[in-house]
Subunit: 383 residues, 2 copies
């Protein structure tokens, strides 16, 4: 397979964008990525979107967006894996370039979540979990993560304060990101006293409902040129786990992330200790704790302590979510995986502004669907 | 890229399967394909599904089905392109094998459409068209194809009887297919007198609402073995057109099918005259007429006459839809593209029973989303 590079990135300002349609926000991101790449066409596009049907009454998004971009008749493919749709769309774009099938491919993601009311959004998000065995029995998506949090607290002694420290860190990072939905800091006290969603998870433990899009341009490394510092795709891996939480061997272990990360590290020829930063799937504060453990950034059970100690903050041993993560940057589910990759590229180029990690060489992105039934891990390398 | 072969196929009996879930029907098809291939594992799976959210309240189908098959943690990817979801899922599986990323890949499709009522199904199907500019204005999906039919009749003199002959032919073929939803013949008079859906299209001009699944196993050609007569993937191509009908240069010309078919023929090194049979997207009788023209099987404007003359029937010059097509076999939208490929493989193996095309060498499948906003064309070769 051919070596692959990312040569362009784009993203709109995320938030509750009631005055814009999915076409508007996606096109802003796509045109910015194409302009950043300095290309005048794309050969194919991929778009990650979780539920065009339930959020917008529009499926067939590949064709819709190729048309909107004025680039038909290029092939266009929508990829879905719940909240990991963006990461998996990037992986398919990567394979299309690595295989030799296409040269210039736009990998993108979009979700327009605020055109439906809260109950409809909660229902739409619950389709990432097992409808028959989980949601139809009455549990919501935050409820599932709350179960994981309770067990982690019981088994490892993780505290309410450690959960809060994840949100505090990611809001601090997000305040440095001019495209983040929430550009303000919060205190551990504010998190711990925010309204209860699903015990022990409170409002500020949860990522928000967001409208947003992101896009990147992928080419063979030989075509990358000197417009930007080079960023290679060093590894791409995806894995699955049981859809329902009750089928897992261990509710506190994200097997799909573990499997995908091991594969990716082997492909890149590195260990987790070599990573300069990670962008991970903190849909809830407990999720970031579980992910840092599954990625091998913290010992099992020590994810909460790692966050509280500052090890995973900007300036710490291994910065996690310098972008602000899903928590502060926002979580338009299909776009999240692509925005993680945009952040990795900006960091490796040295263009991340106030949230720049010092002299990074390797960056990892981890995007996750449902309660970890799917995970997609990519590793990027400078130069 | 590596040469790719299809070594296993599976499909359940299609119909209104109220006693079965999407998991049941998909697993029947998947296990049959795996058994037919004689493999004991798959390295990855792809699943085409148009709207898990609107039809079943379940997204995240890749992970759900890898789990159901007991094959987690394999990577699993859902692909969507409205009614072309199956064809595009196969294309992504093909690229995954051709690239060298995976060796044994299950390409599948599923749609469970009858668990919602007719109005909800009509709404779900309309998400293949342009919601903002078409459906929210009140037009249904059959209404869009009716516009295309009206213009074709006006411009080329296509008759009501010629439309009916497409349905008559495909029902005659479907009656020979033991897995088809409708295994009975109809007369042209019955079609022309069936209840009006969207003038000039009547009930028997329309493909049905169907529950169904199909699956095939894809491997590098070098791994194909001698279990079955060899069937190679000779070409894979996809293309798009405007989402909304009113944006087209010509309402009667399926540009996405034309572009994809030309690319595919060039890749396979053949012309349409070399084809032994085609499986095409006859979601409505007018669709088959338009597709036979776009594929170059009939001159522009002559698609209706070709059907009426018997040229496209089994035993004719170029048999179209020997399986019975969407019209008689049924149309579980995400599964249709994969079932077309299953039929192509059975025909090229010489295992198509009473509907066997005589000594076929090349078979083409054409799967289409919406009113042709996306098309996916594959060409298969015996030997």
């Amino acid at each position: 397979m051919r070596d692959v590079a990312v040569i362009g990135v784009g993203m709109n300002r995320w938030g509750e964008l009631w005055e814009k349609s999915y076409r508007d926000i996606w096109t802003e991101a796509a045109l910015e990525a194409i302009s950043d790449a300095g290309v005048d066409h794309v050969d194919a596009l991929y778009v990650g979107c979780m539920s065009g049907g339930l959020f917008m009454g529009q499926e067939h998004l590949g064709a819709a967006l190729a048309d909107q971009l004025g680039m038909g008749p290029i092939p266009a493919t929508r990829v879905e894996s719940a909240c990991a749709s963006g990461g998996l769309a990037f992986r398919e774009a990567y394979l299309a370039v690595a295989s030799g099938e296409h040269d210039v491919v736009l990998a993108s993601g979009v979700e327009k979540m605020t055109d439906v009311d809260g109950a409809a959004a909660t229902y739409a998000l619950s389709t990432a979990a097992d409808q028959e065995y989980e949601c139809y029995q009455g549990i919501t998506f935050p409820g599932l993560y709350a179960l994981m949090a309770r067990l982690h607290m019981h088994r490892y002694g993780t505290t309410r304060e450690q959960l809060a420290e994840v949100a505090v860190k990611n809001h601090r990072h997000g305040a440095l990101n001019p495209l983040a939905q929430f550009q303000f800091s919060v205190t551990a006290k504010q998190v711990a006293e925010s309204v209860l969603v699903a015990d022990p998870l409170r409002l500020l433990d949860c990522s928000p409902i967001t409208d947003g899009a992101a896009a990147v341009v992928v080419v063979p490394a030989s075509m990358a040129g000197a417009r930007h510092p080079a960023v290679r795709v060093a590894a791409s891996a995806a894995a699955t786990d049981t859809l329902a939480l009750h089928d897992r061997d261990d509710l506190c272990w994200l097997k799909s992330t573990d499997v995908a990360a091991r594969k990716a590290c082997a492909q890149a020829g590195i260990t987790p200790a070599d990573l300069s930063f990670c962008e991970v799937h903190d849909c809830f504060t407990i999720a970031e704790i579980l992910v840092t453990e599954a990625l091998g950034l913290a010992e099992r059970g020590r994810g909460g302590a790692a966050a509280a100690s500052g090890e995973t903050a900007l300036g710490g041993r291994i910065p996690v979510n310098p972008s602000g993560g899903l928590k502060a940057k926002g979580h338009p589910v299909g776009a999240t995986g692509i925005a993680q990759i945009r952040e990795a590229v900006l960091q490796l180029r040295g263009e991340a502004g106030e949230r720049q990690v010092k002299d990074p060489k390797w960056g990892l992105t981890q995007n996750m669907g449902g309660t970890g039934a799917s995970s997609v891990v990519h590793i990027f390398r400078r130069g």
